[in-house]
Symmetry: C2
């Protein structure tokens, strides 16, 4: 009584923005369960900017996804069959499911969560998942914020950025978010509570930073790289911290990555630019959730979910993230 | 009985490498001394890569030298006339003398030192001056070396670099120096004691780093920027530290500075790149000298002095530093 399932495999390394042809949708069948196993029907897949890095051959914190393998992805799903006492039928789990409809697991790397306690199950992939932990540990551990610090966050309406904006505000910082377009900027100001938002598509980011951060920037949380990173670097306050979370503007570069031309400003500002990977903090997740869960319950931490339906639209969901067409945490509904 | 003296003033902001015409040599006269003053005959001027930054209009840790003002420089000299009890005739002093033959001082910012205890008086401008403190605090405070760390140092035969190589070796690190040409590389290996030297003019720096640092780089002490910084960034070991001391390859850029295209390697390596300015550490000089003076006495810390004679050759001395024609600490003998 084997179960049919579909998987999306990586068949070519993208040159620039990923295309549909870089993936292949395959039909396969799952075997019957053994004792100690359970079967998960994947409901939502997390679409993360870093996926572009995983698809390439470049050295990173994870090995490249081998060609022909199922595309790597975090996901959440419901247990639809179980022979595992700790993972009963009907429970929700999150983990690195990969881009597939169903999978069999022995529980390793899978975490149960109470979907009914969340406004949307996909919050387990956003504020209460790796996305939220990325924002929390990047901001607190690398950024080391003090109340009244001026914090600038790029891609502020995105998954990590929107969490970072709210965390920084809840910690008492002055927060300036950078986002693309008036609608996203209104969201950053009005729903996320930033003190100001800069529309990089319609404003001169440097001049706007001068206006909103007259004393300079204490923490710059960078998700984008490129021109915006340069604009922030040249406006650092003494002993500033640049949190390198990502560089989405450079992930699809077909030529050379644009390095930050203003990096020497780190010298005069006695500042540091530091990278981190959320994987290193997974065992400290409870520390973050102990603060963030009460914030969420009090309405001080929200998450906007942007749903695209269908496994076959995975590449399109990725393109939405790289073009900025998404609004909030991009997920694919399976 | 006023004293004739000559000064070199900055008359134009250089475009690219400084030219003789960017400076003007002026004759002036010093007034008679008042009580509490003394007159210094400047003997040696320190030629520092950062001078190019001071000459420009860019924001830095010091304001730009105003056009028409005496060019800023650290120097050492002998007291040739004194009405100050703590600064007697014949004593040597160091301080920000500026590019001039003589000056009158009330002692503020001037420090006496015992030139007879040094192999060359200009050691007070190299290992026992700001140059040595730059190497010490950059390496120890920003780099945080542990014995057995692999430390890579660019411009390793230069003033700061040669001090950094010896300090790192004395602290028990494995040290790879990068310098230009076989003669300088032999000096880095044989006289400074580096485990290996890479000749960036005749070797592929990346491949040579792969060979000498098979496990990656723990500390990269950067004096140069450009391609070499990129080569080091892509070979960082986990939790590496990039000490941003300077970017001599970029100071004379007439176009855009070349930012480090491989800066995203800081993310996968969980590494930091941090700038510093030696001025912040001057009040901790004794802490460094307490370690370095015994090293020097034991022959474990040396300094090579490259002397060019004549105030009128100041611009040429600067050009030597930017082209790498100097070998060791470049000074101008007044």
């Amino acid at each position: 009584m084997s179960t049919p399932s579909r998987t999306l495999t990586l068949v070519a390394r993208p040159d620039g923005v990923p295309r549909d042809e870089d993936f292949a949708l395959l039909a396969n069948t799952l075997p019957d369960l053994n004792a100690g196993q359970f079967r998960v029907a994947v409901r939502y897949l997390s679409i993360d900017p870093a996926m572009r890095v995983w698809m390439s051959e470049q050295k990173s914190y994870w090995p490249p996804v081998p060609l022909g393998d199922v595309m790597r992805a975090a996901g959440i799903g419901e247990i639809v069959e179980s022979q595992h006492p700790k993972f009963p039928l009907g429970a929700w789990v999150s983990g690195m499911t990969g881009v597939r409809e169903q999978l069999i697991s022995d529980g390793k790397g899978m975490r149960r969560f109470d979907a009914s306690a969340l406004p949307h199950p996909a919050w387990a992939l956003s504020v209460f998942g790796a996305t939220g932990l990325t924002a929390w540990f990047g901001l607190t551990d690398i950024g080391q914020p003090k109340a009244s610090d001026t914090v600038v966050i790029s891609a502020a309406s995105g998954a990590v950025g929107s969490a970072a904006v709210q965390i920084a505000k809840n910690l008492g910082c002055k927060v300036i978010g950078i986002a693309g377009g008036p609608e996203k900027c209104a969201y950053v100001r009005n729903e996320l509570g930033a003190d100001a938002a800069i529309d990089y598509k319609n404003e001169h980011v440097g001049k706007a930073l001068d206006q909103h951060c007259p004393g300079g920037i204490d923490i710059y949380f960078d998700n984008v790289g490129g021109e915006i990173l340069d604009a922030a670097l040249s406006r650092l306050r003494m002993h500033a911290r640049v949190v390198l979370c990502g560089g989405i503007s450079q992930y699809n570069a077909t030529g050379k990555v644009r390095g930050p031309a203003n990096y020497l400003a780190l010298i005069s500002a006695r500042a540091r630019m530091q990278g981190f990977v959320v994987l290193d903090y997974l065992d400290r997740a409870d520390e973050a959730l102990a603060v963030m869960a009460p914030w969420a319950a009090a309405g001080k931490l929200s998450s906007r979910i942007d749903v695209l339906e269908g496994l076959e639209n995975f590449a399109e969901a990725l393109r939405r993230v790289y073009s900025g067409a998404n609004f909030g945490k991009q997920v694919v509904k399976v």
